[in-house]
């Protein structure tokens, strides 16, 4: 039955491939360029709207799967998603087109901002505005942390691992890699696969 299901999926895959035939590298670049230029306030919803709803390049299930991989690996969600979707569509070249597209608009903008800030950053009204912006950014990260905690933290023990990480970095000034390895290994060991599998294998 699962074989038939795979066949069906494959067939559908072939069909939709035929429909979107060859997604050209240029189109991948353009679509990610648009996302890169319009995704104010967080990339993920824009990615979904464009890749799933508008272009049908990935379906919802794939999108969530890719997002969870992006979250677990180093790198920003936005660029990791670009790599994964680009790879799915056209391999390495697709990945390259996607990541350049999504980065380009923000990079050019921040280049200009950097130049402007260098020359006018010490004006009183700019400093005052930036004070407000920085405070808002703190609230924004806290909100991201809360959202992720609700979704990804399983039990009380996970909050302990989270607290350990914060204390190691902020209180004891341990480097991020050292903390990541030490607390990470501890947490992975705690969440190790149950022994059951071995028993069921012997049964």
């Amino acid at each position: 039955m699962s074989e038939r299901a795979t066949k069906l999926v494959l067939q559908r895959g072939v069909d939709s491939d035929a429909a979107s035939a060859e997604v050209s590298i240029g189109l991948i670049f353009l679509e990610f360029l648009i996302i890169g230029a319009t995704s104010f306030g967080g990339v993920v919803p824009y990615l979904r709207g464009s890749l799933v709803t508008k272009r049908h390049w990935v379906d919802d299930k794939e999108f969530v799967e890719m997002l969870s991989i992006s979250q677990s690996l180093p790198g920003l969600n936005a660029t990791n998603m670009a790599i994964l979707v680009g790879d799915k569509l056209r391999g390495a070249l697709g990945s390259l087109a996607a990541i350049i597209g999504i980065c380009l608009p923000g990079a050019v903008l921040m280049y200009v901002v950097g130049v402007f800030y260098r020359s006018h950053g010490d004006h009183d009204f700019v400093t005052a505005a930036l004070k407000g912006v920085a405070a808002a950014a703190v609230g924004l990260i806290l909100s991201t942390v809360m959202g992720l905690s609700k979704k990804a933290l399983a039990g009380k023990i996970d909050f302990v691992f989270m607290a350990l990480t914060v204390i190691a970095v902020n209180r004891f000034h341990q480097s991020v890699p050292r903390t990541l390895v030490a607390v990470g290994l501890l947490a992975i060991f705690f969440h190790r696969p149950p022994k059951k599998q071995k028993e069921s294998a012997t049964l």
Partner: protein, 175 residues
């Protein structure tokens, strides 16, 4: 100009630390760019990061501004490649393996174990930044206000950041 190799080294290293989000690399970024290399001051780093939250696209594009300051156009491009290259390559290679390891029982363990640590790293970055960004009741009120609004309503965060700029201009500018 001779700073380019240092820029590449620092940002390639920071790249690997962005587990869970760009903020995870912030404590280390502060140490390396502000204290070790003195490319900019802590308030400047906070300003660039915060302004970067209003820009579209991946939310760490403020690194381009640091590259530009230190090494001009060439520095900006070098920083971009150094910061996004290593993780891009890693994701490209590991994701292909990862998808094949769907049945490997430790896969779930790794994902579950890394979640609290990566969230902790984001929070640690947030605290590092708050030390420089929250300087009194007014700034604390803005941060808490933004947090509460985002928890309660579906607002575009970029709008809130822009609104806080206006608020800051009116309340913090010397009369």
């Amino acid at each position: 100009m001779s700073q380019i190799p240092a820029l590449v080294r620092v940002f390639a290293y920071l790249s690997i630390l962005t587990v869970g989000g760009g903020m995870a690399a912030f404590p280390e970024m502060k140490i390396l760019t502000v204290e070790v290399h003195q490319w900019l001051t802590f308030p400047q780093l906070i300003h660039l990061y915060s302004v970067g939250q209003m820009a579209p696209g991946p939310n760490m594009m403020m690194i381009v501004a640091i590259g530009q300051w230190v090494g001009g156009m060439f520095g900006a491009v070098a920083v971009l490649i150094a910061f996004f290259g290593p993780t891009a390559l890693l994701t490209f290679v590991v994701a292909r393996l990862w998808q094949k390891m769907e049945k490997w029982p430790w896969r779930t363990s790794i994902q579950q174990g890394l979640a609290p640590v990566s969230i902790g790293l984001l929070l640690a970055g947030c605290f590092t930044m708050a030390r420089g960004a929250i300087s009194g009741m007014e700034t604390a009120a803005i941060a808490v206000g933004v947090l509460l609004i985002l928890q309660q309503y579906k607002v575009n965060p970029a709008l809130l950041v822009a609104g806080s700029a206006v608020l800051g201009m009116f309340s913090f500018a010397p009369k």
